[in-house]
């Protein structure tokens, strides 16, 4: 065990002890469960001093056990001892993560399971702490609703959420994304043939990509009306320049050697483009596609603040905020986050398939 791990373990054990002592002195409200939980975590945290059973599994089990115990007694009037117990669970869970990451003799499958499980565990912890704090400290739901309340609202209003998803994500964001990225891609290939335009358009394009383009939303709403077409137009403008700049940069990324080789094969312009330059540009293009997937959602939702039919993520967010239905707003945020993360994930998968040759995707030699 490293010094750092020992520190976390001792702190976790101390927090467990504190929970136990608090629970005993305040037996009337705490009950026997908290005392046992405190004893368990104190024991697990402080066992490194004796050196028995050093496995990370035990730390993980103790942390999860503490979480279940805390969840089972969750209400607006938590006994004081539950807060040190929460801290003890967190520290012992961290210890489990530290230990399992430091383990040297792991099979490749085991280590890939660990590297997948660690962020999932962390995410679960964030949601758990969120739930604990909002319910336990009775945070007003207007300020921050607990995750359970958001989940219930999400499950209750799937039909509304689905309609909003279709309006904003499928109609506005996706169509704008395809038009914007597609046209930028074609124009980038055309520009690439004219060095003069390249030198002129690249700095201008770079400049425009740094601008607050969302600001054109009110203008587009005036030009194209309230329905999804105006939102798609905003998305087209927002996604166009990142794609243009990245594609042009990607097309220039080939090396003289490689081009010379293809020239010695007497390859035509299109052969050079398809066999060498576009594959070389692929990482740049995917980079732009990923940036744009988030930008497209932002553009479509923000444009809805400037006028919209009575459906859509942005519309729902702004009206439900006005009615202080914050749980509904969070349900919409979940939809947007899922849409954003899913599209990002799909693009990453596609990128791995297309650019399997790229150094960042090669399997690492152990």
């Amino acid at each position: 065990m490293t010094g750092f791990q020992r520190t976390i373990a001792s702190l976790g054990g101390a927090a467990g002890l504190a929970a136990m002592v608090l629970a005993i002195t305040d037996l009337g409200t705490s009950g026997i469960g908290l005392i046992l939980g405190g004893i368990l975590l104190a024991g697990v945290g402080l066992r490194h001093r004796t050196g028995v059973m050093p496995q990370a599994r035990l730390d993980l089990a103790a942390s999860l056990g503490g979480m279940v115990l805390l969840l089972s007694m969750l209400d607006g009037d938590m006994p004081a001892a539950s807060w040190p117990l929460l801290i003890a669970c967190w520290l012992v869970g961290w210890l489990a993560v530290e230990k399992s990451l430091a383990a040297r003799d792991m099979s490749p499958t085991m280590s890939s399971i660990v590297s997948l499980a660690v962020p999932v565990f962390f995410g679960a912890w964030i949601i758990f702490v969120w739930e604990m704090l909002t319910v336990g400290l009775q945070v007003p739901t207007v300020l921050l609703p607990p995750p359970s309340m958001i989940a219930v609202r999400f499950a209750e209003s799937t039909s509304i959420l689905w309609a909003d998803f279709q309006q904003t994500v499928i109609k506005a964001a996706l169509s704008g994304y395809i038009i914007g990225c597609g046209s930028a891609f074609i124009i980038a290939i055309l520009i690439d043939r004219v060095p003069f335009l390249q030198r002129g358009l690249l700095p201008v394009g770079n400049f425009i990509s740094a601008l607050p383009i969302v600001g054109i939303a009110p203008i587009m709403v005036m030009w194209f009306g309230f329905d999804w077409q105006s939102k798609a137009a905003v998305v087209v403008v927002m996604t166009f320049f990142p794609m243009l700049v990245n594609t042009v940069a990607g097309l220039q990324a080939t090396q003289a050697m490689e081009r010379d080789l293809l020239r010695t094969y007497a390859s035509s312009y299109f052969q050079l483009l398809l066999k060498l330059r576009l594959p070389t540009a692929a990482p740049f293009i995917f980079n732009a596609l990923k940036i744009n997937s988030t930008l497209a959602l932002i553009g479509a939702i923000v444009a809805e603040f400037f006028g919209t039919p009575i459906v859509g993520l942005g519309f729902r967010i702004s009206t439900e905020v006005g009615r202080m239905n914050v749980d509904m707003v969070w349900a919409e945020i979940v939809v947007a986050a899922l849409a954003g993360s899913l599209s990002y994930g799909l693009l990453s998968l596609l990128e791995k398939q297309v650019t399997f040759w790229h150094p960042s995707n090669r399997r690492k030699i152990q």
Partner: protein
């Protein structure tokens, strides 16, 4: 001299072409309304009249560049700075929350990057979520954050700056993590032969090596934090700031006002990025790096 000219000339040509297309669209988009008016008034009109009149609307579909320039001149130079109609007043409101958000985002980003590089558990558990955090369209929910924070009595600069912070910490984290990991294994080995501690390694090797990466990220971060500040101003009931000018303009159909706010935001973005570039250039030069 010739190289500078060959750099500037293509850019100038492209900008000039954009201007020409813009003027063309001004005439094209504003002419239906203008022709309608001619016919109602029964005026005989020539092409020259049409071109002149389409560029002189109060609320054009698309204002001509010179109309925007005049509006910007009027609302910056000819208005008192304290006036509610002064763009300098609105710009400074936006600028202050941009800078506050940028500073907080940079500090947060550096802190996260250091903990990610120094601790493996942090790396494994935080990094995927930091990437996920940016797939959430935060700009889109910015108004909610503002309204909710207003409801608990937190208003003014801080909520807007928080949105800028959320947007700007990400490029800093990514760049700094890359930078802190950039030292050559040879250099790290050399430090090891000196028996240097982790702290020493950090101060003397990792941190200096990360500075170029930090500045590259800060350029992205400051532009994006301006966007955050502008969107953050939309829901505050159009009180102050460039975002408020945009919203007020769209409510009252004041297209020239919208465009002038947009152009000033663009200029502000350009200036901010340039300032960061200059600071980066000077710093890197003093550190003995080629900038």
């Amino acid at each position: 001299m010739i190289s500078a000219l060959s750099r500037v000339f293509p850019i100038a040509t492209v900008v000039a072409a954009i201007m020409v297309v813009w003027y063309g669209f001004t005439v094209y988009l504003n002419s239906p309304w203008q022709i309608d008016r001619y016919e109602k008034a029964g005026i005989e009109w020539q092409m020259g009249d049409l071109v002149r009149d389409t560029m002189a609307h109060d609320r054009p579909v698309l204002p001509a560049p010179h109309q925007i320039a005049i509006e910007i001149w009027k609302t910056t130079v000819e208005k008192k700075i304290t006036s509610k109609r002064s763009l300098i007043f609105h710009g400074s409101v936006t600028l202050s929350s941009t800078l506050l958000g940028f500073a907080m985002g940079t500090i947060l980003g550096i802190g996260l990057a250091v903990s990610i590089v120094e601790n493996r558990a942090m790396d494994k558990s935080l990094m995927p979520w930091i990437i996920t955090s940016q797939t959430i369209p935060i700009l889109a929910i910015a108004p909610m954050i503002i309204v909710v924070l207003n409801a608990v009595g937190l208003s003014g600069l801080v909520p807007k700056a928080m949105i800028s912070t959320y947007l700007s910490f990400f490029p800093v984290v990514v760049g700094m993590v890359k930078g802190l990991r950039s030292p050559d294994p040879m250099h790290i080995d050399l430090m090891r032969t000196y028996n240097s501690s982790r702290l020493h390694m950090f101060w003397k090797l990792r941190l200096p090596a990360s500075v170029p990466f930090l500045f590259a990220s800060m350029k992205v971060a400051i532009a994006i934090s301006l966007v955050g500040a502008i969107v953050g101003e939309l829901p505050t009931g159009a009180v102050a700031g460039l975002g408020a000018r945009l919203l007020a303009g769209s409510y009252y159909g004041q297209t020239i006002q919208i465009w002038s706010a947009l152009i000033s935001a663009a200029c502000m973005a350009a200036i901010l990025v340039t300032v960061v570039s200059v600071i980066s250039h000077v710093t890197l030069k003093r550190m003995g790096l080629r900038a």
